[in-house]
Amino acid sequence: MATTVKDPVVSTPPPTVKDGVSFLAGRLRQIGIFVALLVIVTLFQVLTGGALLQPDNVSNIIVQNSYILLLAIGMVMIIVAGHIDLSVGSVAAFVGAMSGIMVQDWNFPWWAAFVASMVIGGLVGAWQGFWVAYVGIPAFIVTLAGMLVFRGLTQIVLGNQRITGFPEEYRQLGGGFLFPGLFPAETNLLDWTTVGLGVIAVVLLVVTQLRGRATRARLQLEDEPQAWFVTKLAFIVAIILGLTYLLASSRSGTPIVLVVLGVLIVGYSAVMNNSVFGRHIYALGGNLQAAQLSGINTRRIDFMLFVNMGVLAALAGLIFTGRLNSAGPGAGNLFELDAIAAAFIGGAAVTGGVGTVIGAITGGLIMGVLNNGMSLLGVGIDVQQFIKGMVLLLAVGFDVFNKRRASNALK
């Protein structure tokens, strides 16, 4: 513990193989989840005889899981703050139903229905946030109530009837693709829109990473070894390009929802890492009393988190409704559990203070690939449930085990 470091910029000895191994061991916890995803993808790719990574199937996995991934972003933020939200499935269903009523019965244009739906989601979140943050009722209770209340409201406003026949524009968000007619698959080898997007993403990624590393070097901050940095970057670039290729050779190119999701992932990662708001979430989740005694308005943050979750749940409801072209009384059932599972598989801590957006997304993808892969193999729903349950248990068990080992190392 008491390593005497007089000067942080001491010249470091050249790295050895042993250093590299211990560095990788230290990173294992962070990269473990990505490795797990890769292992699962490889496993099912082999088991399904290559069907998993067929272009159209990849596109399908993304669209199928988009609303869960979206919910997982808001959910991991709430979990980092030490709360939980059990109501998101019902809220998504309620907003979907309201949007259906708006476009069908009240003749709202699709965009007005979208805006109004997000506002409804925000109000629902404000309602729940009020009870959690300002009245002080545990989020588990408030959102358990919300799960029932908004499921009930969904059924009431729909009169237990399903709404179908949504306008074309509305359905684009959940089921549409980017410029589908521009490069028809019949005449083009690849969908060049997708290729362009992929290349832009890679360029942006490499530029920001290099600039960040240069800044850290200028500030003489200790950084990861160059070899690791290059390997990591090359790996991520390879994944993006691989995904780009698969989508570009699929029937329709880039799903619109993937673009929405990508923007939200990047945006919310930045919020969690670099904004005052995000940093305060980690602070209050890590030690609520210390955060309060540091002058952080923890109630306001709790409130805002639920408002945010409400808006994301609304967006998920719109995507889901658009994709199915239907708003029904049973929509969004069990979404909350998938989103919570995604956050925890992705490394969020049950006690709060730990968790990342990218981890939750990876956790959600693990669940999505498991679902899809097992369905391709013809595994029944019963066995699927069993396996998903065990994955969740083992992932959190691994986390608890890791933490115990770390705290024992302190003694």
Binding site: A2, H280, L293
Partner: protein, 509 residues
């Protein structure tokens, strides 16, 4: 007669980095009331935890001889079977269970796993009568007062056939009437042949009921005095508690004291849940720029409560009184307000209230003033790292980098992170609550140097401490606090440990 029920021999207990007890000896005669005295942190509670098996055999060095044979208690149940029962300062009754259930908790009157309610309640009523409580045993523990809860704890101990009863600060939370009743009960137990060890700060109480007193200081036994002939005065006990070693453990400082920065007038604070219980009673104090002011008080005197209530009302209810900053009255209803008014409070319990232990050094340092590093809500991470690096150097925080997790640092380095955090919030007044608790001697010197530097920069510093030598070594002026009241204001030139302890133990007239 003088047969010893308990002999503790050369007990040594070490925590990481701190030797809490060193070669402590304790002899307790059967059937006596034996008091243990010492400043906070002298090792009294640790010694009792060793005795009662909270720290099991094997985690300490030395021998415990109980009733003539060596005792190797593995846990509390083990020591209770032998007849050693400890009643902790924080009462451990389960609030929603009945008094009878609490008395027999873990020791149920049962038959094949089913509770015999009649026997439970009848036996409980008998035990309650023994401690002088006329109470229906089926009422819930939370529905009776603190004084009665204390008596229920004793009844619980009696149900376990106690031979040696340990009471840790039993009257700290009681009013005079309840205290008198409790002390009378302890005398009654002595008549029944039960031996008592009582830890207390109230020296008049000790002189009233104890047969002998053992004094601990800095984890060592200083002396055991017999109180039978009445020749031992309170002053004599105090002298043993505070000792006389005041070497150059404190860096020199030439104070340059300026204008008054903070003044607290007529400050009264009530308990957060029991809004009629007075915790801080019409306190008046002030601190000037460049001045280090001490607040001395024993456990339960209301030191932390006073500080936290000033710091944005983060403790208490029904707070009345006025704060003046640079001569003008201010209101600081939230911690945020207090920080904006230039007040900082570094907690006595840095792990629970001071740090996010799972996060790194730089994010802890920036935690109270993240806004200073942000533009339109976005944090400049580079500048944050630079700022944290500066503090790491100037405060000599020993860690591989500013991204080290604070939970892995030693106590002294954690404290430096807490101090850095508050220095970064750029306060005019720093309230430091037990700034050297749980820190080894070398790091203490560094903390004192930092305090001197802060005062030298013109900050007003209030130091709360239960270590009198520390206050005498670093302060310009010392307030004493007893039972929530400021009992004296002593300039450093006149301050002696004896005088301070006299005011710290001064009870309400």
């Amino acid at each position: 007669m003088a047969e010893n029920i308990l002999r503790m021999r050369r007990i040594t207990k070490t925590f990481p980095g701190v030797k809490a007890l060193q070669d402590v000896n304790l002899d307790v005669v059967r059937g006596e009331v034996h008091a243990i005295c010492g400043e906070n942190g002298a090792g009294k509670s640790t010694l009792m935890k060793v005795l009662s098996g909270v720290y099991p055999h094997g985690t300490y060095d030395g021998d415990i001889e109980f009733e003539g044979s060596i005792a190797e208690f593995r846990d509390i149940r083990d020591s209770e079977r032998a007849g050693v029962v400890i009643i902790h300062q924080e009462l451990a009754l389960s609030p929603f269970l009945s008094v009878a259930e609490n008395i027999f908790l873990g020791n149920e009157r049962e038959k094949r796993g089913f509770i015999n309610w009649n026997e439970t309640n009848v036996e409980a009523a008998k035990l309650l009568r023994r401690v002088g409580l006329d109470l229906n045993p089926v009422v819930r523990a939370r529905d009776i007062g603190v004084g009665k809860q204390q008596l229920v704890e004793i009844a619980k101990a009696l149900s376990k056939n106690v031979k040696l009863l340990i009471l840790d600060e039993p009257t700290a939370a009681l009013n005079d009437e309840d205290s008198a009743h409790l002390l009378g009960l302890v005398k009654g137990l002595r008549e029944e042949g039960i031996t008592c060890i009582i830890i207390s700060h109230k020296l008049n109480e000790i002189r009233e009921i104890a047969d002998s007193v053992t004094i601990l200081r800095d984890g060592r036994t200083i002396e055991t005095l017999s109180l039978h002939d009445g020749s031992v005065t309170e002053e004599r006990i105090i002298r043993g508690m505070v000792g006389r070693d005041m070497e150059s453990r404190y860096p020199d400082r030439t104070p340059s004291i300026g204008e008054e920065v903070l003044r607290v007038e007529d400050w009264t604070v009530h308990h957060p849940q029991e809004s009629t219980r007075v915790i801080v009673d019409a306190a008046n104090l002030s601190v000037r720029a460049g001045e280090v002011v001490g607040v001395a008080g024993l456990m339960g005197a209301g030191r932390t409560e006073l500080a936290m209530s000033i710091f944005g009302r983060s403790y208490g209810s029904n707070i009345t009184g006025t704060l003046y900053k640079n001569g003008t009255p201010i209101t600081a209803k939230t911690v945020g307000d207090a920080i904006r008014h230039g007040i900082a409070y570094a907690t006595e319990d840095r792990k629970r209230y001071g740090l996010n232990l799972i996060d790194d050094i730089k994010r802890n340092i920036s935690g109270a003033a993240l806004g200073k590093l942000a533009k339109r809500g976005w944090v400049d991470g580079g500048r944050e790292t630079v700022v944290a690096g500066d503090y790491r150097r100037s405060m000599n925080i020993k860690a591989p980098s500013v991204t080290s997790i604070t939970g892995k640092l030693s106590g002294g380095n954690q404290q430096k992170v807490v101090l850095s955090k508050w220095m970064f919030s750029d306060p005019d007044v720093l309230i430091l609550d037990e700034p050297t608790r749980g820190i080894d001697v070398g790091a203490k010197y560094e903390i004192y140097t930092i305090i001197n530097r802060l005062a030298g920069e013109g900050k007003a510093v209030i130091v709360i401490s239960s270590e009198l030598p520390e206050l005498l070594g670093i302060c310009d002026r010392i307030y004493t606090l007893a039972e929530g009241r400021i009992t004296a204001e002593v300039p450093i030139a006149e301050a002696t440990p004896e005088l301070l302890m006299h005011y710290m133990t001064k009870e309400k007239d």
